[in-house]
Amino acid sequence: MEHTPILIVLVPLTSALLIPFLAMGGGRFARAGLLFATAGSLLSSILALRASLEGEVLSYHVGGWPPPWGIEIVIDPLSGVMATLVSFLAVLAAFYSGPYLSGWTARRTGTFCSLFALLVTGLQGIVVTGDLFNLYVFLEISSISAYALLSSGGSKSVVAVFRYLLIGTVAASFYLIGVGYLYAMTGTLNMADMAARLPETSDSPVIVVAVSFIVIGLAIKAALFPLHGWLPDTYTYAPGPVIGFVAAVMTKVSAYALYRILFYVFVAGTGPREPLLLLGWASVIAVVAGSLMALAQKDVQRMLAYSSIGQMGYIMLGIAIGTPLALTGALLHVVNHAVMKGCLFMVVNGVQWRLGVFRVRDFAGMGRRLPLTMAAFTVAALSMIGLPPTAGFFSKYYLALAALESGYIPFLAALILSSLLGAVYFFRVLEKVYLSPENVEKTRDTSELPLPMLAPILTLAVLVLLLGVFNQTVVTELIQPGLPS
């Protein structure tokens, strides 16, 4: 089983290559291929995670060349957890896409499934790589496949995605130029080797510039507040099965890459601190502004999109504070937010798919029509607000403790304020769902969602509760081994 690290990437990749051929036999085969791709990736991720939790960092030398000459794949507890998270949500999204794709032609289904598998490939590649340039290559794979998938939701989504494409390419170029500066100063691209060689040159202003470029590039990809412009439109018009996955993990993977580079390459704390503090203030604004803008939305999906901007602020806040406690909070929030945002987007898109409604006021009386779906929505919404015993409470708790401990009172205030705002905009929806009379015309089909859609939603809702209840175990067993030593 020494080859599990590469299989995390290879299984979805090879499946993506075979899916166009499977699609010639019919759309069902393409969907089966997608399920196989994601499930295989999940299995290898779990195996790799288990091996890495036993205390040993798995390092896989692709091509048999030792780093820094060859490319290295690194599975430590951190990347193991991330890879498992990504592939787990991918499996659920693959199930979820079933009913949505049923009306499509076989060829289009094949293209869609193939691109979805490539998106998973790209994200997993980013997560497991130990090489800065390799990260760029996989960033582009995931981006290009995401552009295509997100644009399959109609004309408005095409315009939104075109803007996303431009901004995303600028972000990738920023990242690449940052890598170029680092390469000029150290002569290496391997993360571990660079971390060893950076202290020799860490007083050079070039390093500060390199950090800034990499941070800006990845912050654009992660939609941190002033750089979030592409996100709301893209998310609002995106098709259902895609957005449930993309919103859940794509920005998080960029945040993860940022975390990895800041704490494993620059060994934050020894390096320059200014970009980090700047990041902290940007995230404070993100947290508040995201929640405020979410409050102003009438469209539920757009509201969730803005709320994502706020939630990315939490994660960045944790990274910016940079103490072990804050990082625990940030990483826990990456997991929690992926699970609960995935659940929320899947619910909203399911409602839209079934009833064709998307505005807050259209959700009136939905609690009686789609009781199970709305129960899941409620659990995830409560978790977003941060009520115990749901998962969202604990990550916010860690972040708040960390802000208090390191004396960043404005950060703490922003956390509390945005939780209150979150309560307002989610209760606005919940009030409609449970307390208002129905106003969707009776003629529509108003039975529960079909099982392939309902099952992922309920799984995620249960997971939100489990992550909350067993939060202590999760933190000590999975999150804390992933902190930089």
Binding site: F133, V137, E140, I144, Y147, A148, S151, S155, K156, V158, V159, V161, F162, L165, L166, T169, V170, A172, S173, L176, I177, G180, Y183, A184, L189
Partner: protein, 122 residues
Amino acid sequence: MEAETLSVVNYWLAASLFLIGLYGILARPHLVRKLMAMNILQVAVIVFFIILGYKSDATPPIVRQGDETPIARNYINPLPHTLMLTAIVVSVSTTGVALALLIRIHRRFGTLDESELIEKLK
């Protein structure tokens, strides 16, 4: 001394290319133009990397006939060249996808001007 000045000038010119690209993306209203600016931005990054790889008094990274033991000093660094091959290919791929999106936008909205497009979306 002269070499150093020239070196800084070259870096600045590469940076200017990058900025021209950034300016085009931010400020030019036509979407095809933005796309061209995006390509210029990517070429700027490529230029920057190629400058990094250059060595004075060295030959291109192909072992000369009869050179049994190549010495690092005599050949230009091949690594940035490899990386930039990737970057070129990535840029043409992105351009292809973007143009496909543009054609769809034009079919649906009949314009590629950003402000007109924003008007039509409302």
